[in-house]
C-alpha cells in the first residue's frame, strides 16, 4: 500500500509538472498580453513598452520564463496581477471561500440526493418511484445550469423577490443574521448546481446498481438470510460504486466548467468568475494561476478516486 501510494503521488507530481508546462506554453503562445492596449496606444513610445517588457522578463525565451515562473511558484510567489494590482496568491485566497461554499456544498448535496435516489430507483425498476426519478433526472440532465439559473433568478429574485440574485462574500451582517443572509444567497446557486449534478449522478448510480443487483453473488447474499438493507448496502452498493467513482473522476473537468458558469450567472465572486474576468482582461499571471489550480484539483481528485477505487475493489493492483 505504501509503495502504491508513493508511486501514485509521484505520478501525480509528474502530471502536475506536465500540466503546468502545457498551460504555460499555451498562454505564452496565445495572442495578446496586458500590453495589448498600450501597443495600440500611439501616445506611448515603443521603447517604453520594450523597457517594461524587459523589466517583467517578457523578452526572454519561453523556457527560461517557464523556469522562472516555476521557481517563483515553488517559493509561494504566484506572480502579480497587473490588472488588479495585487498578488495573484492573495487574489486566489480571497476568492476560494465563496467557491468552496457554493460548489463544495452543491457537490455534497448532489451526492446526498443521487446515492439514495439512484439505489431506490434501481431496487424497484420501472416502479412509479423509478419512473418519476428517471424522468426528473432526464430533465435535470438536459437543462444546462445557465438556463435553470436564469429561470430561478427570474422566478425567485425578480418576480417573487424572495432571494437576492447577487452573491456577496462581504456580507456586513454578523451572527445569526449573517447565517440567514448567507443561506439566502447560497440557495439558488447551490440548488442549480446540485440538481444538475444530482441528475447525472443519479443516472450513473441507478444503472450501475441495476447492473450489479442481478449478479449471482447478490443471490448468494440473499440466500444467507441477510436483510435486504444489508444485501443492498454491503453487497450491491460497494460493487456498484466502482464504476461510478470512475465516471465522476472522469467528469471532474466538466463539473468545474459547470461551476464556472454558475458562478458567473449568480455573480459569485469565486475562483471561476476570477478566471473569466482575467481572461477578459488578458491578465495572464492570474489565468495561469487559476487554470493551474484547476489542473492540480483535477489531478488531486483523480488521485483520491484511485485510492477510493483501490479501497472499493481489492482486485485492483497497480502493475
Amino acid at each position: 500500500m505504501a509503495s502504491f501510494l508513493l508511486r501514485r503521488i509521484l505520478i501525480a507530481l509528474l502530471s502536475i509538472i506536465g500540466a503546468s508546462i502545457v498551460l504555460y506554453a499555451v498562454l505564452a503562445l496565445a495572442p495578446g498580453d496586458v500590453f495589448g492596449e498600450l501597443v495600440s496606444n500611439p501616445g506611448i513610445p515603443p521603447d517604453v513598452i520594450a523597457n517594461m517588457r524587459e523589466k517583467l522578463g517578457l523578452d526572454q525565451p519561453i523556457h527560461i520564463r517557464y523556469v522562472n515562473w516555476a521557481m517563483a511558484m515553488l517559493q509561494g510567489d504566484w506572480g502579480y496581477s497587473l490588472v488588479n494590482r495585487v498578488d495573484v496568491g492573495q487574489l486566489i485566497v480571497q476568492r476560494i471561500p465563496a467557491t468552496l461554499m457554493v460548489v463544495g456544498t452543491a457537490q455534497i448535496l448532489a451526492l446526498a440526493i443521487a446515492l439514495p435516489v439512484g439505489v431506490l430507483a434501481a431496487m424497484r425498476p420501472y416502479s412509479l418511484f423509478d419512473q418519476i426519478a428517471s424522468t426528473l433526472a432526464f430533465i435535470g440532465f438536459s437543462l444546462p445550469t445557465f438556463f435553470t439559473g436564469l429561470l430561478f433568478i427570474l422566478l425567485f429574485s425578480i418576480t417573487l423577490d424572495w432571494l437576492p440574485f447577487i452573491y456577496r462574500s462581504d456580507l456586513e451582517q454578523t451572527g445569526g443574521a449573517w447565517i440567514w443572509a448567507q443561506l439566502r444567497q447560497s440557495i439558488m446557486p447551490v440548488t442549480v448546481l446540485a440538481l444538475f449534478q444530482a441528475a447525472s449522478w443519479t443516472r450513473y448510480v441507478r444503472s450501475s446498481v441495476l447492473e450489479v443487483i442481478k449478479l449471482d453473488y447478490v443471490v448468494t447474499a440473499r440466500s444467507k438470510g441477510l436483510p435486504e438493507r444489508v444485501v443492498i448496502l454491503k453487497h450491491v452498493l460497494r460493487n456498484a460504486l466502482i464504476p461510478v467513482v470512475t465516471m465522476v473522476a472522469l467528469e471532474l473537468p466538466v463539473i468545474f466548467g459547470g461551476a464556472i458558469v454558475t458562478e458567473q450567472i449568480f455573480r459569485v465572486p469565486g475562483i471561476g468568475s476570477l478566471l473569466i474576468s482575467s481572461i477578459m482582461a488578458n491578465d495572464t499571471p492570474v489565468i495561469m494561476a487559476v487554470t493551474f489550480v484547476f489542473a492540480c484539483l483535477v489531478i488531486l481528485f483523480n488521485l483520491i478516486a484511485d485510492l477510493l477505487y483501490r479501497w472499493l475493489d481489492p482486485r485492483i493492483k497497480l502493475q
Binding site: D216, G225, P314, R315
Partner: protein, 332 residues
C-alpha cells in the same frame, strides 16, 4: 421413504412475466426430500430445475417472477406465504444453497473469510472473532490447504474448484438440514467434479444433512443420489429410486437420458454410438393440452396429444407420467 419428509413440494407453479408473455417455468412440480437422503433433480437445460430450487428459498426475483400456486412444506410448514423476516431465519441456518457458477457466486470485494463469517455471525449469533475462527474451521474442513492463512484472501485468488469449496464451506457453516446444490459441478472440469461430489458426500455423512442435487448429468445421479426426480418442460415426468430408474426407466424421456450417458468402459449404446434425444424442448410460451414430450416421443400416439398423463405406476416408489410406458407394454 419413512417418517415425515423434511421438504415436501406440492404442485409448485412458478412463472415469469416477460415482454414476450408469461413464461411458465415450473408447471406443477411435486417432490419430497427425506431427512439425510440425497435426491437428484434431473432434466435438460431450461426445464426449470433452478427455478424450482430457487423457489424453495424464495430467491426468485419478484417481479418478474412469481410463485403462482402450490405449497413448499418445510418440516410441515408452508414457506410460500412466509414473510421475508421469517424466511431469512430459515435461509442458511436450515436450508442452504450452492450454485452452478463458483466464479460469480462469491462477492469479489470481500475476503472469503468475511463472506463465511458474515453468515455465521448472523445465523449462529457468534462474535467477530469466533465467526472468523469458524470460517477457518470450515475452510479447513472442505479441504482448502493452509486455511488459516487463506481466510483473508479474495475470491479471485482461488481457482474454480477451490471457490466451489469455499461456497460449500459457506453453505455448511451453519449446519443446515438441507443443502440445495444447483449443478455444483457443471462449471468444473472432470477431475475436480469428482472431488466436489466426494466432498459433498463426506459432508453429508458428517453433518447428517439431506441434499437436493440438481444436475443434468445422469452420471452424477448414478454416483451421488439415492432417489431421482426427472423433470421435463417444467413438470416431473418420473421419479423413483436411482437403481430402479437406471435398470427399468419407465418414461421414454428418461430412457433417452440414460442412453445419452457415455459409458466408462468405453462401450457405446446399443446402436454403436452415443445417443441423443432427437428434437428440442418446447417453446417456453407453448401450452399444449397433451404430454409435452409427445412431439419428440418415439412412442407417442393420438391420446398423448389430447391429455396430460398423471404421475402413476404400479409401485408407489416408482411413478411416471406416461400413457404408453414401455415398462407396461414392451417397446416394439
Amino acid at each position: 421413504m419413512t417418517g415425515t419428509p423434511l421438504l415436501e413440494i406440492q404442485d409448485l407453479h412458478t412463472s415469469f412475466r416477460t415482454d414476450g408473455g408469461t413464461v411458465r417455468s415450473v408447471r406443477g412440480v411435486s417432490l419430497t426430500v427425506a431427512k439425510g437422503e440425497t435426491v437428484a433433480l434431473v432434466g435438460e437445460s431450461g426445464c426449470g430445475k433452478s427455478v424450482t430450487a430457487h423457489s424453495v428459498l424464495k430467491l426468485i426475483p419478484m417481479p418478474p417472477g412469481e410463485i403462482t400456486a402450490g405449497r413448499i412444506l418445510w418440516q410441515g410448514r408452508d414457506l410460500v406465504p412466509l414473510p421475508p423476516r421469517e424466511m431469512n431465519r430459515i435461509r442458511a441456518r436450515e436450508i442452504a444453497i450452492i450454485f452452478q457458477e463458483p466464479m460469480t457466486a462469491l462477492n469479489p470485494v470481500y475476503s472469503v473469510g468475511e463472506q463465511i463469517a458474515e453468515v455465521v455471525r448472523l445465523q449462529m449469533r457468534l462474535g467477530r472473532r469466533a465467526a472468523m475462527d469458524r470460517a477457518v474451521e470450515m475452510l479447513d474442513l472442505v479441504g482448502i490447504p493452509d486455511a488459516r492463512r487463506r481466510v483473508g484472501d479474495f475470491p479471485h485468488q482461488f481457482s474454480g474448484g477451490m471457490r466451489q469449496r469455499v461456497m460449500i464451506a459457506m453453505a455448511l457453516s451453519c449446519e443446515p438440514q438441507l443443502l440445495i446444490a444447483d449443478e455444483p459441478t457443471t462449471a468444473l472440469d472432470v477431475t475436480i467434479q469428482a472431488q466436489i461430489l466426494d466432498l459433498l458426500e463426506e459432508m453429508k455423512e458428517r453433518l447428517g444433512m439431506a441434499i437436493l442435487l440438481i444436475t443434468h448429468d445422469m452420471g452424477v445421479v448414478a454416483e451421488a443420489a439415492q432417489r431421482a426426480v426427472v423433470m421435463y418442460a417444467g413438470r416431473v415426468i418420473e421419479e423413483g429410486a436411482v437403481d430402479r430408474l437406471f435398470t427399468e426407466p419407465a418414461h421414454p424421456y428418461t430412457r433417452g437420458l440414460i442412453r445419452s450417458i457415455p459409458r466408462l468402459d468405453g462401450g457405446l449404446g446399443r446402436h454403436g454410438r452415443l445417443q441423443t434425444i432427437p428434437g428440442s424442448i418446447p417453446s417456453q410460451y407453448a401450452d399444449p393440452a397433451g404430454c409435452h414430450f409427445a412431439p419428440r416421443c418415439p412412442l407417442a400416439q393420438a391420446d398423448c396429444l389430447a391429455a396430460q398423463p398423471a404421475m402413476s405406476g404400479p409401485d408407489p416408489d416408482h411413478l411416471y407420467a406416461c400413457f404408453h410406458s414401455p415398462l407396461e407394454a414392451p417397446a416394439p
